[in-house]
């Protein structure tokens, strides 16, 4: 990538860090802190109408303008970070944990379990993600636990496929055969022999999948099928303020930029992870 060549490198804690990577990590850290401390730092309660005008412009006191009801946009975006980051993180954790564990089990066990699991999850993968979300929301309604589970289920097949492909390679190594001959259990094999050898690519995959989930969650919320009012994540904020589009109101632009800043940062961070961390043996 161009950025890697252009960015200067500096040494910190024994690793060379890439400037773009550091900047991306800082953006992610900032959004994480906002997500945790949002209720303490918002200037106005999110439900309060503080502006006489709707779709107000940016001005002192209302740094990001006001939304379609005259509520403070800055507060709403800060609180939206909680839902977008929180739900996506929960979903990606469930998806990657289940996918990776199943993938490793399938690779180690092989046989019919592997075949059935792979065939079934491949079929799941053939359902377009947005459509799956639509159908589930139509069937059981939309709430935070349903959203987390749906998003997790949609991305389990991908995590499974990725982890299984990695684990199958490790599974042919001599030390696995030795461990098998020693009579170790499957749990030991996947936990102590395979996982340490695939953990770094799995973590990079975790980041990418987080981006997919943020995008899908925002997409669903934008369609009105994600978080329901009065709760609002970034996608829902864009939806409720879409009426401000013809006036180019900050209320519709800022939440979009928030999503973009988060997803682009995660992508850049993964691209620019220090080589040493990626290559060092576990």
């Amino acid at each position: 990538m161009t950025t890697r060549a252009a960015a200067s490198r500096r040494s910190l804690l024994g690793h060379s860090y890439n400037l773009v990577g550091v900047a991306a990590a800082l953006v992610i850290l900032a959004w994480t802190l906002v997500a945790i401390f949002a209720p303490y730092i918002i200037p106005h309660p999110i439900g309060d109408i503080v502006d006489d005008d709707y779709f107000g412009p940016m001005r002192q006191g209302l740094w990001l303008g006001s939304d379609y009801l005259g509520r403070d946009m800055l507060s709403r975006v800060l609180m939206g970070a909680r839902y977008t980051v929180g739900i996506s993180l929960a979903a990606v954790s469930i998806a990657c944990f289940s996918g990776v564990v199943l993938g490793m089990i399938a690779a180690v066990t092989g046989g019919w379990l592997d075949t059935c699991l792979s065939r079934f999850l491949d079929a799941m993968n053939s359902i377009p993600s947005k459509l799956f979300g639509l159908v589930v929301v139509a069937a059981v309604g939309s709430s935070i636990p349903v959203l987390i589970l749906t998003l997790a289920v949609i991305y389990i097949p991908g995590a499974y496929r990725f982890a299984r492909a990695l684990a199958v390679n490790i599974n042919t190594m001599d030390f696995i055969t030795v461990a098998r001959v020693r009579g170790e259990s499957t749990a030991y094999l996947i936990g102590s022999e395979i996982l340490p050898n695939i953990i770094r690519p799995v973590l990079a995959d975790f980041g990418l999948r987080f981006v997919f989930i943020v995008l899908l969650l925002s997409g669903l919320s934008f369609l009105g099928l994600g978080l329901q009012p009065p709760l609002a994540d970034w996608g829902a904020l864009v939806r409720e303020n879409i009426g401000g589009l013809p006036f180019a109101a900050p209320a519709v632009i800022v939440p979009s930029l928030a999503i973009a800043s988060l997803t682009i940062s995660v992508n850049l961070l993964i691209d620019n992870l220090p080589q040493k961390i990626r290559d060092r043996d576990a």
């Binding site: 459509l131 139509a138 995008l215």
Partner: protein, 316 residues
């Protein structure tokens, strides 16, 4: 084509068929998980228990799920998509015109985005490392990293708000002349083209770069072939398989894309119909729309896989 390739292709088709059954079952199962009894919802609160029981009997709601699934499947084979709950019209009639609209949108987008993306992807790979390549790469990563609705809102801001070239909403029924038609389709097609092309450019570029790094292309360079000849004559024929594969895979992003684009631009297509059906919980309509999308998606990814198999010269 030898029997090896034929076998692989047939195997892939069989897998697609099995997948289709699983997908159909998943769609049916998910939509019949709806809490609340369909019969009492249809009849309203004033219905007597006898009337509800009668309707349940008439709609075969008392049968086990697997029987209802088979009956639904049989209906599908006869072209019977069921009747919409919301307005009592046959689903097939509701979908018909909408389906044509969506196919028009998808078709125009494909016609524009495929040549565009292939040109950009191949030239970026040829000029790898140049400023042009960097701009194309960064832009396509940017488009992939943001949600589709953001691409849509930004294009509305640019073309409809600042430049005032195009209207923000489409209404197919008001098309009287060619210029009307262009104005109606422009915004949705531009948005979809961005989303689809970004994927296609990245995959095409990667495929061509991989071929360009093979020994026989280096050989062509060493024997003094020009850069254009090296790419067009030596590299491209071998990269064709991966490129067609990339095109089919990218087109499957149309499925997700149209759902957002039809909603945001109020385009009267099948995706808009489905999103509205979700809002009114009109199950037969959701089932049929979901099925059409799954079919399209499955068709494209199966086509991508089969192209990948056929283009592998080692199997020929």
């Amino acid at each position: 084509m030898t029997s090896g390739v034929l076998n692989l292709v047939l195997k892939r088709l069989a897998i697609a068929l099995v997948t289709l059954l699983i997908v159909l079952f998943a769609v049916f199962f998910a939509t019949s998980m709806l809490p609340g009894d369909t019969a009492s919802i249809l009849l309203g609160q004033a219905a007597t228990p006898e009337a509800v029981a009668g309707l349940r009997e008439a709609m075969h709601l008392n049968d086990p799920a697997i029987l209802r699934f088979l009956r639904w499947l049989l209906g599908l084979l006869h072209g019977d998509l069921g009747t919409s709950y919301a307005n009592e019209m046959p689903v097939a009639a509701l979908i018909g015109g909408r389906f044509v609209n969506t196919m028009k949108l998808a078709g125009i987008t494909t016609l524009i985005s495929v040549p565009l993306a292939l040109t950009l992807g191949i030239t970026a790979a040829m000029l790898r490392g140049s400023l042009y390549d960097r701009i194309v790469t960064v832009l396509s990563i940017g488009v992939i990293s943001v949600p589709e609705f953001m691409v849509a809102t930004l294009s509305v801001l640019l073309f409809a708000v600042y430049l005032k070239w195009l209207p923000a909403l489409s209404s197919v029924n008001e098309a009287h002349s060619l210029t009307d038609l262009v104005r109606i389709y422009a915004m949705p097609v531009i948005t979809l083209t961005f989303v689809i092309s970004a994927q296609m450019i990245r995959m095409t570029r990667a495929a061509v770069i991989e071929t360009l790094s093979t020994p026989y292309v280096e050989m062509a360079l060493l024997k003094g072939a020009s850069r254009g000849r090296m790419v067009l004559r030596h590299a491209l024929p071998n990269a064709l398989g991966p490129i067609v594969n990339a095109v089919a895979l990218s087109l499957s992003y149309l499925v997700g894309g149209v759902i957002i684009v039809e909603t945001i631009f109020n385009y009267p297509g099948i995706a808009k119909l489905m999103v509205d059906a979700v809002a009114t919980r009109d199950l037969p309509l959701i089932q049929s729309c979901a099925m059409i999308f799954c079919l399209g998606y499955l068709f494209l990814i199966t086509a991508a896989d089969i192209v990948a198999i056929m283009s592998n010269p080692r199997l020929r």
